[in-house]
Subunit: 347 residues, 2 copies
């Protein structure tokens, strides 16, 4: 059980530390943890946000526990040296093509959402976002124009093979949940989306038990406000998934509680909280580590098939929340270590 | 005062008719209304969603009142024959580059939003969306791949000149409101966004009285849920604007009340309700025409400088709402004509 631990920037190290404590407490046989530098922290030490040594550790690992990257002091750097390149690089180099973002309101926390409690309480959805293609990884550049001025450009694209691969993940996820898959695109404007939609429809033939629907991304953004409880699984491309999964997270009301998995073909995956590096509270022991702890649970489930252990962690977090162990993000006063302690006690 | 009236598909004709009644009731000297076919309706009659005759009417007009386009029976047509091409074509042919989408909750309607009333009630924002560029109008296509399979692609781009033009609209709008402009992009991933951000920062020097901030689009989607009341003016590109403006509209809770303007350089503009053609209720006299009536108010204000008349219409709609004249979209029982009557009575 080789797990790479990439804590990263800002609150990354603090929250990762608590998740590691939880993993260790389970007494899993053969557990091996290997640390590596990523993001602004890696750039400071090695001059690159994703040094070759880190990539090596990632390649050799069965799974990666990731904290957060992001550092305002790197804003002026060239694009390829910025902290975000660490996560983008890992996704690409390891072929982590399927981002799984569950969004569900913990019982009793409905009132923490900006949505009305009855709307928020009904949220139980999973966003399956493609992570290796789209406008993220196409050719891009900035050209000087003949008459003066500049033009920035980015190529958006999907092949049917790329869409097929992520569509299967979406359909399988729907089979394991409530059997409904909503594919989100902008096929009324984009040819990329036309291939997306055609391919999803083609793959649907293999999943007669799943009810497939299609929605334009602008409408999806509306329905996620109006009636998020109506969604089961959403499958979408890299860019739309970036926007909609963050929107859905905020509907839940507590981004300090949301985990994510980024899977390669097979069981290898990277697991990270959906919140960022939060530089304003970094190093103060104020960050809520629950999202990272829940990411560790996803890691055990998806990369090692350890469903019982994953459920044990999730139950401990739910118990802590039910007992009122709230971090600052939920208006409580528990700090990072105290929340870690509380979860460990309930494990 | 030459106004083109393009009613379009679905509920378009019904709601446009009420807005025309309101315009006529004002007794404006020199008012001339010229009808034209667009969308699926135009395709049925002339074989094209935006016939040359319609374009001629649009070119000759000072302003365009637009209903809605969208017709499921056209789904199987080639892209250039689909109803949406009418609105995309008008935007491009007439150089309608600046989409203005105000979102504000009418007093007393806070409880119609899925957001908590105190969150929804604080919404008073304007989204300025660029309409003539971005991935909407770049080169696009679907290629057959050598080894079999297909690849759909769309070129995303912005020149600094395009960004400058819309940035000025954003800054000026902020000057006329609360002096805050938030520019939304995805500069951590896209070169298009890098040019966007650099250019907005450059233009900001001319508006020292406006407070400029930058936000990544995924974060903007989150903040629009968490605290939409914190926004004043948002300026963004065509694609992100499509998504965020619809999200913001739904936060208001009543898309049957929201108007929009799409402006060219100068005072020429196209005005339309933000809702679509709603084929499910078309022809039944159930649609709420208030959004179209409010679009007519925007038309008088922005294309003809008739502020008093615009305000008169808006006050009549607000009065009708205060008196409980609710369409089905607000859980009421007033139909299209009855709502038109109610607004006319209060004019
Ligand atoms: C940091 C950034 C490049 C990244 C993305 O856009 O994918 C982030 O927003 C995410 O969703 O993981
Ligand atoms: C119909 C469609 C092409 C259009 C767009 O994406 O611009 C619509 O969603 C809008 O926002 O006016």
């Amino acid at each position: 059980m080789k797990i790479a631990v990439f804590a990263g920037d800002g609150i990354g190290p603090e929250v990762t530390q608590e998740a590691v404590r939880v993993l260790k407490a389970l007494g899993l046989p053969g557990l091996e943890l290997v640390e590596g530098d990523v993001g602004g922290a890696a750039w400071r030490k090695h001059g690159h946000p994703l040094p070759e040594a880190t990539l090596e550790i990632a390649r050799a690992a069965d799974a990666i526990l990731f904290g957060a990257v992001g550092d305002f002091e790197c804003d002026g750097l060239e694009r390829h040296l910025r902290p975000e390149q660490a996560i983008l690089g890992l996704r690409k180099e390891l072929g982590l093509f399927a981002n799984l973002r569950p969004a569900r309101v913990f019982a009793g926390l409905e009132s923490h959402s900006a949505l009305r409690p009855e709307v928020a309480g009904a949220i139980d959805l999973l966003i399956v976002r493609e992570l290796n293609g789209d406008v993220y990884f196409g050719e891009k550049g900035i050209d000087d124009l003949p008459g003066g001025g500049r033009r920035g450009w980015d190529m958006m694209s999907y092949t049917d093979a790329e869409v097929r691969r992520i569509a299967h993940v979406g359909f399988k996820a729907a089979q394991g949940r409530n059997g409904k898959l909503c594919s989100v695109d902008k096929a009324n404007v984009l040819e990329t989306s036309q291939v997306w939609r055609d391919t999803v429809i083609e793959v649907a033939a293999e999943y007669p038990d799943v009810e497939l629907s299609h929605m334009y991304v602008d409408n999806a953004a509306m329905q996620l406000v109006k009636n998020p409880g109506a969604f089961d699984v959403i499958v979408t491309g890299n860019l739309f998934g970036d926007i909609l999964s963050d929107q859905a997270s905020m509907c839940v009301g507590s981004i300090g509680l949301l985990a994510s998995a980024s899977m390669a073909v097979g069981t290898k995956g990277l697991y990270e909280p959906i919140h960022g590096s939060a530089p304003d509270i970094a190093g103060k022991g104020l960050a809520n580590p629950m999202a990272t702890i829940l990411s560790a649970a996803m890691l055990l489930r998806h990369s090692f098939g350890l469903e019982a252990e994953a459920a044990r962690i999730e139950a401990a977090v739910a118990k802590a929340l039910a007992d009122g162990i709230f971090g600052g993000d939920l208006g409580g006063s528990y700090g990072t270590a105290a929340i870690g302690d509380a979860v460990l006690e309930r494990l």
